[in-house]
Amino acid sequence: MSFALAVTNVSLIRDGRPRQTVLDGVSFMVPKGQIVSLIGQNGAGKTTLLKIIAGLLSPSRGSITINSPRIGFMPEQPGFLPAVTAWQWLVLTGGLLNLNRSESKHQADLWLRRVGLHTARHQPIGRLSKGMRQRLAFAQAALGDPQLLLLDEPLDGLDPIGRQDLKGLILAARDNGTTVILCSHILSDIDELSDRLGVIDHGQLKFFGDTASFRADNDLERSFVNFINPQHV
């Protein structure tokens, strides 16, 4: 199989009055080793779709096929236990991946260096800045070298240098054969990173294809606004 992820007719309906259709018949297929971005307005269903792919939510209908033994997930607002140090956090979450102690330590050191947190590795996470915690969350998602990385707003809260560094890491992961699915509101970053683009509007996938073909001659932001709301001035 040459695809990394197949989303087939996925719908999610939340019970309540009235019943809310969060996702409606979403289908797409992601080839291995590509970066696919999901964009849409707030509440369009992007984060919900990522959580379904990560196995944190079950769809009401449809199925997810993942051609990868391991998934890394970085949530939009990563939370940590603040008294634990960055190094301890990564070593122990390595255990959650069933890595043995020495492999966990090796992976923790490796990723702390890659995300530029090696000098702050023994600081309690509660004392790290938002940008540093964001990098730590990326390191945790990438721990154990998953073949599929799901990143929800990974560049949120980072300064320009931090954003540049993290974009470099995402591109390096792609170059090493990892498939990356990411959500972001910063469309200039999406334009820079994505091979393919999915546009979700009110729970429906309205476009899925090459980023360049969606953008045409415009910048991505203008194309997106025109696509969602052609009357918007």
């Binding site: 944190l56 949530p75 939370g79 236990l81 122990l92 390595g94 959650l96 069933n98 043995n100 309690p124």
Partner: protein, 250 residues
């Protein structure tokens, strides 16, 4: 290629919670509690309650058990419930953990976090109380062990409650159920409802301090049965927590 081991993820999760309790100054709280308990025991043992060292130790154990379990729950349930509030659960649950592994890991984390505080407070308290006094260590250790059974059940209770509620509410409800658990015998006697004794954990079974003061000892089988009782209740509560986590919406 690494070997998949069922126990490794829950142990790692327990390590994270216990480490966090350790580094959240929980042990300092335990030590302060031990000092207060030890000094109180010394005071009461030489005051109107009498000069009996056994009375002193009974009081000391009661204070350290109640206090350290309370501190332990507050810290550990705060950590466990805060997974959802702060989003840490999202990070952890997205790893390939089953609901069963998650429930067991969290329960063990609460047990270890509370036990560390209990051991420190009891050690400090006993040390202060025992200066110049007679300390029957063997009997004291047995009392400690039976309190450990109570800790297992309460940790399982806090773990279950933390699946639904906020951290502070989980701690409060655990404390409320702890009082109920110690009043089961009275409730059954006053109401005549025998079934209450079967559907609620009877924590009075672990209250050996009084027995220890008035009696000369208990048969070894009693301790074994108390341990089995604690483990059985813990397993039931952890299975319920696992079922609750399966249905949890992240």
């Amino acid at each position: 290629m690494f070997k998949m081991r069922w126990w490794r993820p829950p142990l790692s999760l327990a390590g994270l919670i216990a480490l966090s309790a350790w580094q959240s100054r929980g042990l300092l709280g335990g030590a302060i509690l031990g000092v207060v308990a030890g000094l109180s025991a010394r005071f009461f043992a030489t005051a109107s309650l009498g000069q009996d060292a056994r009375v002193m130790i009974d009081l000391l154990l009661a204070i350290t058990t109640i206090g350290s379990l309370a501190i332990g729950w507050l810290i550990a349930t705060n950590l466990a419930a805060a997974e959802q509030e702060r989003g840490a659960g999202l990070l952890l649950a997205s790893k390939p953990l089953t609901a069963g592994q998650y429930a067991v890991g969290r329960w063990l984390g609460i047990v270890v976090g509370s036990a560390l505080i209990y051991i420190i407070s009891a050690l400090v308290g006993c040390l202060i109380a025992s200066l110049g006094q007679q300390m029957p260590l063997a009997e004291l250790s047995l009392s400690w062990l039976t309190s450990g059974g109570e800790l297992l059940v309460l940790a399982a209770l806090a773990n279950l409650l933390a699946c639904w509620t906020t951290s502070s509410l989980a701690s409060f409800l655990t404390l409320a159920l702890w009082f109920i658990g110690h009043s089961i015998d009275v409730l059954v006697m006053s109401s005549g409802w025998q079934f209450l004794g079967y559907i609620l954990p009877n924590l009075n079974r672990f209250n050996l301090h009084e027995t220890y003061v008035t009696a000369t000892g208990l048969p070894g089988t009693f301790y074994v049965l108390t341990g089995v009782y604690a483990l059985s209740w813990s397993v039931v509560l952890v299975v319920l927590a696992s079922a609750a986590l399966k249905k949890r919406t992240w």
